[in-house]
């Protein structure tokens, strides 16, 4: 029998180009989360840290450095890497350890610092997240991999470049309302279509930015959460999935098997269906990804996701709001932090701290985050505590 797991606090730095070093960014978010939960650092029994490119800022073995600087040199930490899915996959491990009863209260912290490396170096580092022998090593960048997925999707389902652009326009509308978002700028379909080509058919505004940033949450068991007397959110579903690491290994390039598997597990554990979700934070590293995500998560039938976005079904006031935070596209994508940033958004939404971007009457929310082109994925479902 698993223990119930709750999120008691959440904090985040601004996402964007940050001047501080990676450890300072990480500590800022951690202190925010500790304050949000109303706990003391000594209440934390373990630290789970997600990060990908720490080596570029001269720090690996990051967990003990962070724990030491939080005044917790004797508290065990673990650093987890799963490319762009590192945050949610780390959250799953933290969740599992609370659920299994190993700990009562832990820190889940995601952090990334990448903008200091410049566009070419960042593009190269990201390409190491692919199945390099077949992808990065044959010249594919990450925008290129998703562009190849977009081309296949557009050919199969007759989606247009305008359809992809409508995802970017919607997420930028949401991101304007998020004070911590990297790109707070209203854009039009025309802006997207006229932006420079990055990897055909994806243009600059189809792509999320390279971002620095950190997000942190405090996970605990139900007793610990209730004793705090503070508002909290319960984790009611958790799922992990995997896909062939290389795009070429998938029978259908227009779906991401790891998403489908993780979502199926999470819905089953929660005892709900996609219709019960009030809003979702999904992995929109590129506009095409959000269209595929909302189909793979069961919100829309295969091939109809683009139409749903165009008709406004996924806007903040639509049938199923997607990425009210602005998503990776506008809020930003510090890849080690992204999956935890989604949980921060859910926590703020479900505890009444999302201000202008609040999704009205939301009680149940889903987060979805994957690594690389979906080689690894995690889905979590959260419920506002009564």
């Amino acid at each position: 029998m698993l223990n119930k797991v709750c999120v008691l606090g959440a904090g985040s730095t601004k996402y964007g180009r940050l001047n501080e070093g990676i450890i300072e960014i990480a500590l800022d978010a951690s202190i925010d989360a500790i304050n949000s939960a109303g706990i003391a650092p000594k209440d934390i029994q373990a630290g789970y840290i997600s990060n990908v490119f720490g080596v570029s800022d001269k720090q690996v073995h990051m967990a003990p450095v962070i724990m030491s600087n939080l005044g917790l040199p004797g508290v065990p930490g673990l650093t987890i890497e799963s490319a762009c899915g590192s945050g949610s996959i780390m959250f799953r491990e933290a969740y599992a350890n609370i659920a299994a009863g190993f700990y009562d209260c832990v820190l889940g912290l995601g952090v990334e610092k990448i903008t200091h490396t410049g566009t070419i170096q960042s593009t190269t580092l990201f390409s190491y997240c692919s199945d390099f022998f077949y992808e990065g090593g044959n010249g594919a960048s990450f925008p290129g991999l998703f562009a190849s997925i977009a081309r296949a999707y557009m050919a199969k389902y007759k989606a247009s470049e305008e359809d992809l652009a409508s995802v970017a326009v919607k997420n930028h509308e949401n991101g304007i309302l998020n004070p911590k978002a990297h790109v707070r700028k209203k854009i039009t379909i025309d802006d997207v279509l006229k932006s420079p080509m990055v990897a055909s058919p994806l243009k600059l505004y189809d792509c999320c930015p390279f971002s620095d940033g950190a997000s942190a949450v405090i996970l605990c068991n139900e007793d610990f959460a209730k004793k705090s007397g503070r508002p909290f959110v319960e984790v009611i579903g958790s799922g992990r999935g995997a896909s062939s690491a290389a795009v070429q290994g998938r029978d259908d390039i227009t779906t991401i098997p790891s998403t489908v598997a993780a979502a199926t597990q999470a819905y089953k554990m929660a005892g709900i269906t996609p219709k019960d979700i009030d809003f979702a934070e999904v992995h929109d590293c590129f506009t095409i990804a959000e269209i595929i995500d909302i189909e793979d998560l069961g919100f829309f039938k295969k091939g109809t996701g683009a139409n749903a976005v165009r008709e406004g079904s996924t806007s903040r006031t639509g049938e199923i709001p997607i990425n009210p935070s602005g998503g990776l596209k506008s809020k930003g994508h510090p890849i080690g932090a992204t999956g935890i940033g989604q949980v921060v958004e859910v926590f703020e939404q479900l505890t009444g701290k999302a201000d202008q971007r609040t999704v009205r009457d939301a009680e149940i929310a889903l987060t979805h985050n994957f690594g690389a082109t979906g080689a690894s994925a995690a889905v979590h479902i959260f419920k506002r505590a009564e």
């Binding site: 022998f133 044959n138 594919a140 960048s141 290994g249």
Partner: protein, 132 residues
């Protein structure tokens, strides 16, 4: 259980794949238990977990399934000019492979379904393709 391989026993599966590509071939494995066909770089059958297999050299020809042309290339490809990164299906099989197709400037010149073939293995650009 290897047979038909023209490479020496000392090379790794990836090295053997590269040597075959230099002969314009794709090196594959056929599972001896369930007959599943896979690229020779895989160690175990994903259908039945068997490690018993027959090595096959497939003609490196096929049809483009999808691709992209990038404005920003990763390090090592700065000198490559405009190129496409291509996923193609190998003729007569369900296998798919990815490669580097130089000289592609516009999507209008590479419709999905275009025919390509393996032409070599480039020391820095990987599995080299050419249009047929």
């Amino acid at each position: 259980m290897e047979s038909k391989a023209k490479t020496g026993p000392q090379e790794s599966p990836r090295e053997k794949f590269i040597m075959a590509a230099r002969r314009k071939k794709i090196l594959a494995k056929k599972c001896s238990v369930c007959k599943h066909l896979m690229l020779a770089t895989e160690y175990c059958c994903e259908k039945c977990s068997s490690r018993e297999y027959e090595t096959l050299e497939l003609e490196g020809t096929g049809k483009v399934l999808t691709y992209t042309i990038q404005a920003v290339a990763p390090e090592g490809f700065e000198d490559a000019g405009s190129y496409a990164w291509v996923v193609f299906s190998i003729d007569g099989t369900d296998l798919r492979v990815s490669g580097f197709l130089p000289g592609v400037i516009s999507p209008s010149t590479l419709p999905i379904g275009s025919r390509v073939m393996v032409s070599d293995y480039h020391p820095t650009h990987g599995l080299l393709l050419q249009k047929v």
